[in-house]
Symmetry: C2
Subunit: 231 residues, 2 copies
DNA sequence: TCCATACTTTGATCGTAAACGAAGTGTGTT
DNA sequence: AACACACTTCGTTTACGATCAAAGTATGGA
């Protein structure tokens, strides 16, 4: 009854669940936080619907994805941000130790992409850094972030309900490690609401069925002036 | 030649390497940063030497462990801190979503243990928090930490060569998420040197062949007065 | 009511990889 | 030299899990 063993075992089960190509394709596809049906994921994973069903069942019991039943559709999405973080971490390991060149990482994905439901890539990292140097965002213990009074005012001015964002049953804000940049971008509820805003204001547009984000020329100007940065 | 696919695939290979019980036992055993020989790991993983050899070969080619050949011994250890972070991340996921009770997590491991080469558990989290509230440690962008001038003086006074620690080819300090506490403890070169100090000064002693740390009564007094906390 | 759609379950097949013992390689010791 | 020890490579067995087609269940619409 060694408990260390239990931990190992449970973790290894999780890893094994991720470590099957078809399931991995599903999981990484869901990193854009878009919920997808079983059949859609079957196409993504390149397996038959029945096989996809088995895989999704396993991912659900391992608590890597959750399912929302709506009529005859089943919408699958990642269980939570922790799952996305582990997937990102694995990408970091897979990305080679830096010396191994991965030159053909598409600039589109490097530049701006979604990580789970927030903005990653160089854009995400720049935003993150600007928010901190402008004193809008501050780190407190345990790597969580808080908005400063100035930051709260600024976000409210952008049309974000900070109070409401705090209410969400989810970590408010934290630094999420970026696999391409190896730096942090803004994660958590605040990161999610910021991406939503950027999409609504058409600062960025989302490629269909891809994690890539495209910064519009309007967005370039707007974000440049609002956050004082070159995009 | 979809590149997104490459990432998925590589990450899934890594996960699969972790997702085999025997290999997971080896990896989690190496989390205490103690290098071990092939035969020792065979015992830990509960497989024959030949099987262990194959597993270790795979872990090496996947760059999860590295090997140091010394005479007729081969010393295996984790490839780096990033690997340890992924393993901790998987533990977080395996730890159940909080609502699922896991009452039999041993207090020994909760209280104080090593995470790779730094202090984790409640002790690690307390230390981390104290260092920050005392203003010795400060967070700058990308979730990295820096020592304040006061912090540098304090660490020097403890007999730590801060300059030298900075020189190490490794991230200086950062918040490492703790699976049992779900809060951060101090990771990186500074975390490693702090653990080394605590061991040298006999503030804590290390159980042989386990990640558990025991706080000595001397250590309780010393750390209490030096960092102003209850241990 | 009946059919179409969305998805799951069942059952059978197949391939991979995990396991071990035995034999092989290399390194220290006498 | 000869032997002991640490570890790997080889060859074989075995077991598990990934796969699909076909049949089954549930929901929505005609």
């Amino acid at each position: 009854m060694d408990v260390e063993y239990q931990t190992d075992h449970a973790a290894s089960r999780i890893a094994a669940a991720i470590g099957e190509p078809a399931r991995a394709r599903m999981l990484y596809c869901l990193m854009d936080s878009h919920a997808r049906t079983s059949t859609e994921l079957a196409v993504v994973a390149d397996v038959s619907p029945s096989t996809a069903s088995v895989h999704l069942n396993r991912l659900t019991t391992e608590r890597l994805v959750k399912v929302l039943v709506q009529g005859k559709h089943r919408y699958y999405s990642l269980e939570g941000p922790e799952v996305a973080r582990v997937l990102e971490g694995l990408s970091v390991l897979a990305g080679g130790s830096g010396d191994k060149f991965v030159p053909n990482t598409p600039n589109r994905l490097r530049a701006a992409r979604t990580c789970y439901d927030h903005i990653a890539g160089t854009l995400g990292v720049s935003l993150h850094d600007r928010l901190k140097t402008m004193g809008w965002l501050t780190a407190n213990g345990d790597e969580s972030y808080e908005l400063t009074p100035a930051g709260s005012r600024a976000f409210e001015a952008l049309g974000i309900d900070v109070e409401e964002t705090h209410m969400l049953r989810r970590r408010f804000a934290f630094g999420c490690l970026d696999w391409s940049e190896r730096r942090s971008h803004l994660g958590g509820a605040l990161g999610a609401v910021l991406l939503k805003l950027a999409l609504k204001k058409k600062w960025v547009v989302q490629d269909l069925d891809s994690r890539a984000l495209r910064v519009t020329s309007f967005g370039r100007r707007e974000m440049g002036s609002r956050f004082g940065m070159e995009v």
